[in-house]
Amino acid sequence: MSFKLITIVVIVLGVLAVSQLVRLYELSSKLRGRREEDITNRDNKLNANLMLTFMILFYAGFIYLMTEYGWTGRGEAASIHGANTDWLLNLNFIIIIAVFFLTNTLLFGFAWKYVRKPGVKAYFYPHDNKLELIWTVVPAIVLAVIIILGLKTWNGITGESTKEAIRIELFSKQFDWTARYSGEDNVLGKYDYKLTTAENELALLTEATLDSAIRYMEFGKSDSTVLGIKLLENKLNNPKNMFIPEDREKMETDLDRKTRLLRLLYQMKSRHNAKLDASAYDDILQKDTLHLLIGKEYEISFRAKDVIHSAYFPHFRAQINTVPGQVTRMKLTPTISTKEMREKKDNPKFNYVLMCNKICGSAHYKMKMIVVVDTPEQYATWMKSKTTFKDDYLKPAAIVSDSTAVVPAADSTKLAVK
């Protein structure tokens, strides 16, 4: 409260003080017969000198920031195309910094030099076609170089990956990432968002996940936090139950929606080809940390469950949005292992990271996944510790004979299985 009072008092006193000063200044100008629009040579000169002073301070600040903070934040690019873009970025920086210094110097220099001097008239110089042509053509040529180099690099980055590339998927949701490795066949299993259940967070498509999704739709969660179709119908049809109209309407909407979704699930089931199940079953799911193998090419596809996220690997200079209802992709070849990078950055705790870089909700700023680039031995050891989707999903505990066995919390299921 005292803070508010003091603030208000200070503001009021400040305004009063300034207004009195301005009155004083105006009275004195009036006495001297000076008008606001008549800029004295002294004022003019002062501003001209300030222009030059500002320019020098501005440059000094820039150079200081550049030497102090330049590229330190991200360090060396740790992927093949990252190294390419860094090279191109540096080239572009040289060009634009040169332009920045040149034009700003001309601007502030002219502003300083050509300030009004008594007796000197401005030079009437309305146009000059040759000059105009020069500064149209020269930037055009420089830009042509920039465009050509840029597009060449861009095509390289966004082009197809080789057949040998390891296929993985990154699945994003508020507010975490899950990785899916394609397993031995190097084929990612199919999915459909309607198959999402607590045990099948990534909605992989197999005979079993289809059945359990259908059961889930029909029977809901065992603890009745989510009502299935049957229970909803029972409740709504029971004449003994009295609902307030809003609740009833809500339940009816819910029931309608679920009935329609269920119909789609049955359609999917009737078309399902069980031979494809194998490609999903050998997939490997991984939370928290993404392991990549040094020097290996990856073909990464991206999915979003709820809203748009962006998969941003600052150290690999790689980024792509993840979009609900759509698959996005990138290729990536890490070239520096985590261990090496720690030495380079002289920080034993350094890690690569995958961050969310598209506003996605309140905890957007916490949505990240640590990335580890392993040497082949490390990678093999880690891979050995992993179980496939089949192991996780078809373990007896997780097989659901009816809805009662569905465990609500996703994480607890996974832990239990492990």
């Binding site: 934040g73 401005a122 009437f124």
Partner: protein, 604 residues
Amino acid sequence: MSAITHDTHGHHDAHDHHDHHEETFISKYIFSQDHKMIGKQFLITAVFMGLVAMLLSLLFRIQLAWPGESSDFLSLFLGETWAPGGILKENMYLGLVTIHGTIMVFFLLTGGLSGTFSNLLIPLQIGARDMASGFLNMVSYWLFAGSSVIMLVSLFIETGPAMAGWTIYPPLSALPQAIEGSGLGMTLWLLSMTLFIAGSLIGSLNYIVTVLNLRTTGMSMTRMPLTIWAFFVTAILGVLSFPVLLSAAVLLMMDRLAGTSFYLSDIIVGGEMLENHGGSPLLYQHLFWFLGHPEVYIVLLPALGLSSEIISTNSRKPIFGYRAMIGSILAIGFLSFIVWGHHMFVTGMNPFLGSVFVFTTLLIAIPSAVKVFNYLTTLWKGSIVFTPGMLFAVGLVSTFITGGVTGIILADSALDIAVHDTYFVVAHFHIVMGMSAVFGMFAGVYHWFPKMYGRMMNTRLGYAHFWVTLVGAYGVFFPMHFVGLAGAPRRYYDYSVYNEFDTNTYEMMLDLNVIITVFAIIAALGQMIFLFNFFYSIFRGPVAVQNPWKSNTLEWTTPVEHVHGNWPGALPVVHRWPYDYSKPGAEEDYILQTVPLAEGEEEH
């Protein structure tokens, strides 16, 4: 055409004499149909909105510099609901960022620049009695005012304002389950923007018609001041692009309220499986940026137009390359429609489409470079008078360069990948669009204040304001480049996540964020000088003379005291272009456009 215009004017004259004394307070100050008053209404509304947006930015800058620390300032403005114990809530951080961006882009820079100066200057500089339709002009302002009120109201509702960023990308903006602000807050945002767009559209149509039809005798298109050219092209951009934003907003409304699936597909949010299938969030982005990019030039062109006029006047030299300046305005206007995809390089848009947008985007650098070099040559061998308006105009050229060159990095898709949505982008557009446009606006206010209020603003306070603003604003936005190059994503509540993988970078970001916030506070305090000067001068400033800056354009031939219809007698007749400054053989260093060519004098 001139015959027609004369007729209209005759009518106006007669009208004038009847009306003049009957004006009530309401018809003069509130529901005014006079373009000068409407211009002032736009200006004051926009300045107020700008102040609010600036305050919002201070609130989140405090959080960024001192994350998680209790602040009396935050609790003073946000109270226990949004800043419990003086610590900003995560949701409200996003809300502040969103509303700050929306207000700054649309309400301050679009309403404040184009709204104020198109209204004030178009009739005055082309020699018209008023806008083509005074009534529509009034409607345009009141739609703007209404939308401002709704936008402000949305800050005070229980679930908070829109929180999906000023670009309000769906699905986040479509699903209240995903974030609180996408409930009522987003509905109000969309409602407000709908009114804003309607107002802007009516205004723009009016500007176009006025420029095309109501020019006085002798005022050919190639004798118009560059300000008018800029406003004219701006209005065309607005007419062509704002309706697309409206369609994007309407489709979003449908997705939110009517259960359609324009932007939604295969979504599970808050444990609820949505049925929507087949929509594309990318569709929204295409529609949004089809406005969004021309919008940048809707903001920038008026600022460039104003500064062309001010730099020429105060260098006492003709603007260099008048026709090239017109050409580059037209080129920028045209190109601005085919570059929107550079906002979407990493959205999953087809990479080939991306390369097309790289090409078109980088082309814009050419007319922009032409403009910069023309400004520089205008200053060269000038006889520069540093009025506060001139200082801001020079500042604008500097920020246009500094912010413009980083655009080359961002327009290059391969390079954009690494800095997309980082603070590098924030730095870029705040300098090139924010600072430039605000500087243009300040330059315009200082320069045309005598025309608006018949009084002078205090010059020395203007100087103080300029230098504090230039240093403060560069101090805020220049270091941001380095935060961005270090990889810091924008719209992060804090950077504590860096603690888990790179403590050194975390330290660096915190250092820079403190510097930035300190400069932001300085710059904000600097604006108090302006506010004081502005309001004080409206009431107490020394009375202006008719042509204080010794300028050539028609507005300086009108009397200081405003009259309905602008010129008490017949309309002025134009004999020359507006940039005859320091012409050899002339007595004075300026020649009004109404002065006939002397014998043997070439036009230019």
